[in-house]
């Protein structure tokens, strides 16, 4: 008798956990299952011509991948892009700019922050089109228009050699706002007396930033690094609209390489292997960053 009542009470108390079930089913079917599929298909020779017939070919997709020049080039470009655009451009420059903003006058800070945030809020398709017409060489884009009207020589920003820097610039432009918001929040949380004390000591502004503020921002830095690295690794739209991986594969990030492999070369097995490598890079990098948080 007693146990029956208890059980009934327990059920009533735990009934709320049933809410989890539909969400987890939804996530499993549309999110987890495709993750499993991308691993599964990466071991097959599945092709876009006929998706219902394929055979398992073991690791040969991966072996071919690491042998191919296209992939090596793409991996190199992606890592360089991550290093310059995410880590240096957005995280490092972002923290400096956020600090500079905190020492300026209120309204000036508001205007500059808003301008940077508008770039971040711009949808990527629009951003790609805008950057294309800004950097364009023939016909003359905005930058070259101003260069030539001041008597300078026009520069081809989207050539085989320069396009990689252009996509880095465009990506820093769109991503900087996010880092700045995170760092502005982080700097606000620093005890103001620490900063005041450094003024008393007569510390130079440069040293003040690198010796005092930067180390105190550790938590914001790791949060920011983790998120922007993952965002940048998954960047597709902006670069696809701006250069589509060209010219001559010079901006062929892994995501764009994966897209072309699937829909221009019809080789879905190969494309899934590229996808798995993107996933593995994301897992490795996030584990490294999260290790730093655990140390705290």
């Amino acid at each position: 008798m007693q146990t029956a009542i208890n059980r009934k009470l327990n059920f009533k108390k735990n009934a709320i956990f049933l809410i989890l079930i539909p969400t987890f089913i939804y996530l499993i079917i549309f999110f987890i299952y495709p993750i499993y599929l991308s691993f599964k298909y990466s071991f097959t020779n599945i092709s876009l011509y006929d998706i219902s017939h394929y055979t398992y070919i073991g690791f040969s997709n991966y072996v071919d991948l690491f042998k191919s020049h296209g992939f090596q080039n793409s991996l190199y470009i992606t890592l360089l892009f991550l290093l310059v655009s995410a880590i240096f451009g957005q995280m490092f420059l972002g923290s400096i700019i956020a600090y500079l903003l905190t020492i300026t006058q209120k309204y000036f800070k508001l205007i500059v922050t808003t301008i940077i945030l508008i770039a971040w809020a711009t949808p990527q398709v629009t951003a790609g089109i805008m950057w294309y017409s800004t950097l364009s060489y023939i016909p003359t884009g905005t930058i070259n228009f101003f260069l030539s009207s001041f008597g300078f020589k026009s520069i081809n920003f989207l050539s085989t050699k320069t396009a990689i820097y252009s996509i880095m610039l465009a990506n820093i432009w769109i991503g900087l706002g996010f880092s700045i918001l995170i760092f502005l929040g982080g700097i606000q949380n620093i005890n103001p007396s620490i900063i005041k004390a450094s003024y008393m000591d007569g510390t130079k502004p440069f040293t003040r930033f690198f010796a005092i503020i930067f180390p105190l921002l550790k938590k914001s830095i790791i949060t920011d690094l983790l998120l922007i690295t993952l965002f940048t690794l998954g960047t597709f739209t902006l670069i696809y609209v701006l250069t589509a991986g060209g010219p001559a594969g010079s901006t062929n990030l892994l995501t764009i390489y994966q897209y072309h492999t699937a829909f221009s070369l019809f080789s879905l097995g190969f494309a899934n292997a590229i996808g798995v490598i993107i996933i593995l890079i994301a897992i490795v990098l996030s584990t490294i960053y999260l290790r730093f948080i655990k140390v705290e």
């Binding site: 956990f17 989890l20 998706i51 508008i118 770039a119």
Partner: protein
């Protein structure tokens, strides 16, 4: 001291100027009477490109599709996130930490790499090139981050309020609906805006999962317009402005909450 101050202001002013440069072409071109891909100062300014875009049936249909798909995805993700967020915020149970960490893992997942397996999966279960398939995938992508944002915001609502309701004999589920949700309403509405903007800006999901012209949302329509032969660039610019301005306004409105929730999110 004074030199560093002048230097700071100069650097930041220059930075702001550089950030504005990409917008110049878009704005000037959208009011231009002729079509130029490069930058040309027009002979006079006109609203004709906007008028042409807003009277084009295909463009209007793509705006409509964009609205339906973005709202549909938003509705589904918010619906599926409120319950789990409440449980993660209020209940302590065995698997809690593991489930939370897996949700965090999905939040940062490089989603683009999933589109090709999803594409094969969708063809097999005939969801490919359907409105509902597109909405379901847009929806599922935002569920993990929504659970995080909601959980972190729910943590701020004091538990004592529901305890009082519980004492009065309301069950957990009843207290969730009648006591808790009204308090969480402001956060949920910000989240709806944020989800809408993210879906509105999403290009690659409809680009890969849809193919019929009448289903393409505004993001994909702009891209295909950009890629066609003999593009009328002034109309493209006007169309992009119509697409971009609502997104910027809504994003500016909701970004504060997202940052708060994301930077609070890591400590779990």
């Amino acid at each position: 001291m004074k030199i560093t101050k002048i230097l700071t202001y100069t650097v930041l002013t220059l930075l702001a100027a550089i950030f504005i440069v990409p917008f110049i072409w878009l704005i000037v071109e959208s009011f231009s009477p002729v079509s130029d891909l490069g930058f040309v100062i027009p002979s006079h300014f006109t609203l004709a490109p906007f008028y042409k875009v807003l009277t084009n049936h295909e463009f209007i249909n793509s705006i409509y599709e964009g609205l339906i798909q973005s709202f549909g995805g938003t509705l589904i993700s918010v619906m599926f996130s409120i319950g789990p967020a409440y449980i993660f915020s209020r209940k302590k149970f065995k698997l809690r930490l593991y489930l939370l960490l897996s949700i965090l893992f999905l939040t940062g997942f490089p989603v683009f790499s999933l589109l090709i397996p999803e594409y094969i999966f969708y063809i097999k279960i005939s969801l490919y090139n359907t409105l509902i398939g597109d909405i379901l995938f847009l929806g599922v992508l935002n569920v993990p981050i929504d659970i995080w944002i909601l959980k972190n915001s729910f943590d701020q609502i004091p538990q004592s309020i529901e305890r009082a309701a519980f004492m009065d004999g309301a069950s957990s589920i009843k207290s969730l609906f009648y006591v808790f949700l009204p308090l969480a309403l402001p956060i949920v509405s910000v989240l709806i805006i944020l989800n809408f903007v993210v879906n509105w800006g999403n290009f690659y999901v409809p680009f890969i999962l849809l193919s019929s012209n009448h289903l393409l949302p505004i993001a994909v329509e702009i891209y295909s317009f950009f890629g066609t032969f003999n593009v009328r660039y002034n109309e493209l610019a006007a169309f992009s402005i119509i697409y971009t301005i609502p997104a910027i306004i809504l994003y500016m409105f909701s970004q504060k909450y997202m940052i708060k929730a994301l930077s609070g999110g890591i400590k779990g």
